[in-house]
Symmetry: C2
Subunit: 463 residues, 2 copies
Amino acid sequence: MWPTKVISKIRYLQSPHCKKYSVIASVLEKANVGDSTEVKGWVKNLRVQKEFIFADVSDGSCAQRLQILIPKSLKTDCLSFGSSVHITGKLSKSPRGQLELVAENVTVLGACVVLDGYPFNPRTTHPPEYIRQYTHLRSRTNYISSILRVRNTVTKHIHDFYTTHKYLNVNTPILTSNDCEGAGEVFKIQPDSEETVKAMMQEGRDKDTVYFGSKTYLTVSGQLHLEAICRGMGNVYTLGPTFRAENNRSRLHLSEFYMLEAELAFCDDLQLLQENIEDLLKYVYVETRNTNEADLCLIDKENGNAPSWLNKSFITLSYEEAKAILEKKKIASTEEGLNKEQELALVEYCGGVPVFIVKWPKELKSFYMKECQDDNGKVDALDLLAPITGEIVGGSLREDSYGKLKDKLPSDKLNWYLELRKFGNIPTGGYGLGLERLLQTMCRVANIKDTLPFPRWPHNCSM
Amino acid sequence: MWPTKVISKIRYLQSPHCKKYSVIASVLEKANVGDSTEVKGWVKNLRVQKEFIFADVSDGSCAQRLQILIPKSLKTDCLSFGSSVHITGKLSKSPRGQLELVAENVTVLGACVVLDGYPFNPRTTHPPEYIRQYTHLRSRTNYISSILRVRNTVTKHIHDFYTTHKYLNVNTPILTSNDCEGAGEVFKIQPDSEETVKAMMQEGRDKDTVYFGSKTYLTVSGQLHLEAICRGMGNVYTLGPTFRAENNRSRLHLSEFYMLEAELAFCDDLQLLQENIEDLLKYVYVETRNTNEADLCLIDKENGNAPSWLNKSFITLSYEEAKAILEKKKIASTEEGLNKEQELALVEYCGGVPVFIVKWPKELKSFYMKECQDDNGKVDALDLLAPITGEIVGGSLREDSYGKLKDKLPSDKLNWYLELRKFGNIPTGGYGLGLERLLQTMCRVANIKDTLPFPRWPHNCSM
């Protein structure tokens, strides 16, 4: 057996690297007037007055800045907007009751000469389109740094939600030999090196198949792989990058984006999926609100108010009901499915409360979806429509009959997927949620390109 | 302001989907003798005796199985090894004092006929090479399911470690126009659809550049991107997939693997990096041990003992010292650097304690590494060598002089990286750790292909 005595002796979480200075979030949370404090960060604002220079310093740990009072007697060469600084001093209280640091020593670590080409200016709110051009520097702006902190927190709360419910986090593969739903809009991969290609070349192969022995794509969904693990280990989820090779530059599309996918074991009722999704979204929203209120308000002042849907139940409409409503509102179309305008009209019709559209015509949905028990022309699928983005979740019960699935299977390459139904099969259902669209809805971010640190879209993959 | 009253009213974490039945981990943790209980899972073993059938059922939630006593009077059609079942009954205690479930009702959800081609047999330990052929079914085996649970927990503890230290989790991009260290062994991507290629084609472009406007690769490291965010927001980390297009099928290599990378803001001392890494590894090991002891012992009985390094400090050797030791042990080579045999010999020399190799000759390491203050022929880089795998971490202080970095920059495409040093620069250092190699070292898994659910290596990307 393992000696528990050993464990208690182990030194960890005590690394001195975090004791050399304090992050501003901790100072504001825990420190008291009179404490000697050391912070490092970037100057966001400078005001020179009679006896003091006032500098607002941020280190990225929170939306709040720490105000530094710098006596003019101190040496402050190169101190300017954008420069990085190391400051030691004593905490005191400002006339307005806020914690501030009276500097005893100021060291400029890195100068920042705006005239040398720094794209941001003090006391200026740059529009998102402008900031977006400087991907490598934009986390220094308030807008983007607040969004990245919220993204960090939302990710954490998503993991916490599933951990609490004992779901297994599964890393589904990025590289795959099947293109999932046959959507067509996929990226393919091959080795860049001509030498590698040459060394691995075999009769009957080409550059596309030489490395893995078959054509290989970037994943568009981890669902089918999740289903495999779900049939051995129960409830599972994954949160990772997925890809679309579409030529679409809208404010809602990216070529690389994060998808949260969950697969519920022993799930034979769409209602269970809906409850799971509603719980998840409310949990993540409330928890993020609790930890990042200042960030949310900085992103959009409107975020100061609770969204209208938070203390209401989500709404459910059948696809037919939804189409009838659109007919009445005179925005019906002859196309099947729902377009973006129609999605947003339905959310508006529901008073801004997210709405599940269920009971979809079979021919509009994927081969793996289960037919409704009371109508085999329909499938037990759902789309969740939300304010700002329209669709943010898609899900369904999965076809669990070996015979029916065999008839619908689009490709022999998916025989492994069919075989999951042959041995100890169970009913499952699951869904996929676009992380960036969730962030758009939650934080009121108009353009999806601002919800992740390094957005990729057609003609844009510059670093 | 936001009405806090609203928050308390919100229903979440109460979804009935998790109340319909209990996962076995919860039953073993919380339930008592006499409780009515409902479980769903897979039959791992069956023993027919006089009055009862004994079935061991697992649902993937933990290494332990629940023993079910099924009175022979109950209907049990299709009940067999591998079948999925739904069992209701009352908990009781076995003669040996273990919790067991006396069944009142047994429903077989999915039959499993071994003769129909199910690759696994009852009461058989299949070798890993055999199991690996059935990627889609292998999470039903003890060995792989235990490893996947440990992987899940290790991932969680890694995130907890950085969250506790207030590091920001940053999703660095998978698609990138730079190949990071110029290693050459990268995958390139392009749209699969000929139509998309045709529609986006412009003068002077080819298939490789048509979509993004420049050749685009799968990432080999998120470091340079992390450095950008670190220079705006402080300490950062990322844990995600990375890729190598090498033709290497060793037990230590994958084409797609997970890398943990961290970048420490204001870090100007390699010692701080070393302490951070040692803390991380000890924290993750001990916490995983606390949550997954049964899994670890199931993976390898030797895991029942604490590793020799756990209550010792990691060792540090300079590259020169390491080379001298290898010379003495008569396994020196004329090549520069350290090969796998030499790495493992050094770990053995250190009594199985992980060892940092520091002060590397400049020409063996990457352009972005910082020269040692006392020897400009050397760089402040580290490799951490561990048992079983050899190198599991590589890291360095980063060159922070604009002038020196400019001279060493391998490509104009990295001008954005150079520019980070121009505006409010700070000293940073960081490291990358291979998640799968960590799992190999921690759990004593000989082949890296068993440490993740869907391994990809040359000629193997079958689903």
